[in-house]
């Protein structure tokens, strides 16, 4: 049984990622930690709670930092919400999920992560689907404990592309200082996998596939087709693609089945934290020009077909996968 804590800022793609990982039999999700990102902390916390209810997840949701780590350390107010359009008004594509916030814990996300890692040294993986603020705060509080994290899969960054600016991806742009703390302080001890836009953009579910989920995916399939409508608009407007890219799902699948990633190169990665036009850019030194120690594994390729098949089988079952192969893939 793999033990994992999921740090998340739901978010439509977070929601789909969570629904999927909850189905994986050999993975125990110890808890969900919320973090400010796609939406403010109140909304991401209640969204995490809603998704947990919907999936009948028995664990708790732990409230994370209300803002990027520097703002929190300086006691400054949170950033304004930058992503209202992408994820719908409520961050979940304006779908009615069951509301019951009794699964939100009193303990903070930072305390929960530190306590859990301390009690299970070298056993706990972290999947980080939002900004790395909580993780960085844990490191600042207790580096020694965080060195005993087993692995980290973080969705963020990009080598050759951005999505909030031409060079910056949202999660890392939101809290670049947290990225540098995590990569530089934990990199020497913990294998960190950065699942950036170069990888996530390869896994495009086109509208044929979305229609298939709607037709064959039962309640969840209809929900996904409905929930991702704002995504369809965004990806058309920004990228001129017909379909949806579910970044966080790809990150979860890469964690669950690392064999879908071809052999991965390690590199020194730094995030631009300066307030200039490159803010949030993730600089990946594949060629070693900086001669700094390599701190992060940076996959650039993914087996798209296998990735999609794994997702469909996990979320919808074997029969639906067979129909996908027969009626979508082969045509």
């Amino acid at each position: 049984m793999r033990k994992v804590i999921i740090d998340t800022d739901p978010g439509i793609d977070d929601a789909i990622a969570l629904m999927t990982i909850f189905k994986q039999k050999d993975v125990e999700v110890l808890g969900l930690c919320s973090v400010a990102g796609n939406k403010g902390i109140e909304l991401t916390t209640s969204n995490a709670s809603k998704i947990a209810n919907y999936c009948q997840y028995p664990g708790k949701v732990y409230r994370g930092l209300y803002a990027d780590i520097e703002s929190v350390l300086k006691n400054e107010p949170p950033r304004i919400d930058k992503s209202s359009v992408v994820h719908g008004k409520d961050g979940l594509g304006d779908v009615d999920f069951p509301i019951d916030e009794s699964n939100i814990a009193d303990q903070s996300a930072v305390d929960f992560i530190l306590e859990t890692v301390k009690n299970n040294p070298h056993e706990v993986d972290l999947i980080c689907l939002g900004p790395l603020s909580n993780i960085a705060m844990c490191i600042e509080k207790d580096l020694e404990t965080m060195e005993k994290v087993k692995s980290i899969y973080t969705m963020g960054g990009g080598v050759h592309r951005g999505n909030v600016t031409p060079v910056a991806e949202f999660n890392y742009w939101f809290d670049p200082a947290a990225v540098n703390i995590t990569f530089n302080k934990l990199g020497p001890y913990v294998p960190i996998y950065m699942i950036g836009l170069d990888v996530t953009h390869q896994v495009l579910f086109d509208m044929n596939e979305v229609a298939f989920f709607q037709f064959e995916g039962g309640e969840v399939g209809k929900l996904i087709a409905h929930m991702t409508k704002p995504y369809v608009e965004t990806y058309w407007q920004n990228n001129k693609v017909l379909g949806i890219i579910i970044h966080d799902l790809t990150t979860v699948l890469a964690y669950l089945y690392p064999e879908i990633l071809p052999p991965v190169k390690k590199a020194n990665v730094q995030c631009v934290a300066d307030e200039n036009i490159a803010k949030g850019q993730c600089i990946v030194d594949f060629s070693g020009r900086w001669t700094k120690e390599k701190n992060v594994f940076v996959p650039m390729e993914i087996d798209v077909e296998t990735c999609k098949k794994i997702f469909i089988e996990l979320l919808f079952g074997k029969d639906v996968l067979q129909r996908y192969v027969d009626h979508v893939l082969t045509k």
Partner: protein
């Protein structure tokens, strides 16, 4: 030089798209749209044709023809096309059809007026053409060509294992038509129209084009897509009829020669029996360039979006 055409049709979702293509192309001088009972009855068909021509502010004579098949009871195809024939989103109430002439007489009149010049697109059951033959067996010899969507040569039918809807709906008319052994008959059977699949990706692109025509096509095909998945596990909807129009524009279909007859009774009723041989009089389509069809489709109907279309094809998204 424009090509004079009469479109004999039972609109119908894919029929309406064929009408749109023909109207948007500069290639055609549409002398008239003659309506036959098929997908929907002749009255609803006339209303739907009126709705579509009004979308383009075009004044094309719409002429009603046969209300039911020659000999058998009439079965519509509203399970496929929706109660109103346009995906249950339009429910057209407008009827611009003319009162002073019926379809068969109209066709005869135009063929006599422009001998050797008129192409007849027959996109529904062949009842109107059978009525033309009853009145004047030589009239259709004056057509430049007769291009028919119907039949299934070497693939399963869509109404029975062997029968395609247009011929199954009125097998006697089809039988009579092929008995005449007219020259210049082109048949577009399911074998090739099956390939013309408007996918959810195409539909999403239409939605993003976001003008009156793209919205119309997007809306009317929703019902059709649901039907195709439910009945055939086909992702997207087959749009048979526009292929006939596109082929005249750009020769995208390959034909072999055959003699064709249509079964009028028994379990094989409506089956098109295609006897493939070099001296056959009918040209039967067997191969189509699917990608070229959609190129013509978008180029013709949405010329201002054609660059984007090509870009999406290059990215293998369409």
């Amino acid at each position: 030089m424009t090509e004079k055409v009469i479109i004999d049709v039972d609109p119908g979702i894919d029929d309406s798209i064929a009408l749109i293509m023909a109207m948007q192309s500069r290639l055609f001088d549409i002398l008239g749209i003659t309506i036959v009972s098929g997908n929907v009855d002749v009255h609803q068909g006339a209303k739907n044709a009126s709705y579509v021509t009004r979308l383009f502010q075009r004044k094309i004579p719409i002429v009603k023809g046969a209300a039911k098949p020659l000999k058998i009871d009439y079965n519509d195809a509203t399970d496929t096309h929706g109660k109103d024939g346009l995906g249950e989103v339009i429910f057209s109430q407008v009827d611009d059809s003319v009162n002073d002439i019926n379809a068969a007489d109209f066709i005869i009149k135009k063929l006599n007026e422009y001998p050797g010049e008129v192409t007849v697109f027959a996109l529904g059951p062949l009842t109107n053409l059978a009525n033309v033959i009853a009145k004047d067996p030589d009239a259709l010899k004056k057509a430049k060509a007769i291009r028919i969507m119907g039949g299934a040569a070497k693939v399963h039918g869509n109404c029975s294992p062997v029968a395609e809807y247009n011929f199954w709906c009125d097998p006697h008319s089809a039988h009579i038509f092929f008995k005449q052994q007219y020259e210049h008959v082109y048949l577009y059977p399911l074998d090739i129209t099956y390939k013309i699949l408007l996918s959810p990706n195409h539909r999403e692109f239409l939605r993003q084009i976001n003008n009156e025509i793209s919205d119309f096509i997007y809306q009317i095909t929703r019902f059709y897509v649901d039907f195709h998945w439910r009945e055939e596990k086909t992702l997207g909807c087959v749009i048979n009829d526009p292929l006939v129009v596109a082929d005249v524009m750009d020769n995208i279909v390959d034909f072999y020669r055959a003699d064709v007859d249509v079964v009028t009774e028994g379990i094989a009723i409506g089956e098109s029996v295609v006897h493939h041989h070099e001296k056959g009089v009918v040209r039967v389509g067997y191969k189509v360039d699917y990608q070229k069809f959609f190129d013509i489709f978008f180029r013709t109907i949405f010329p201002e979006e054609y660059e984007m279309y090509k870009r999406l094809v290059r990215k293998e998204m369409l």
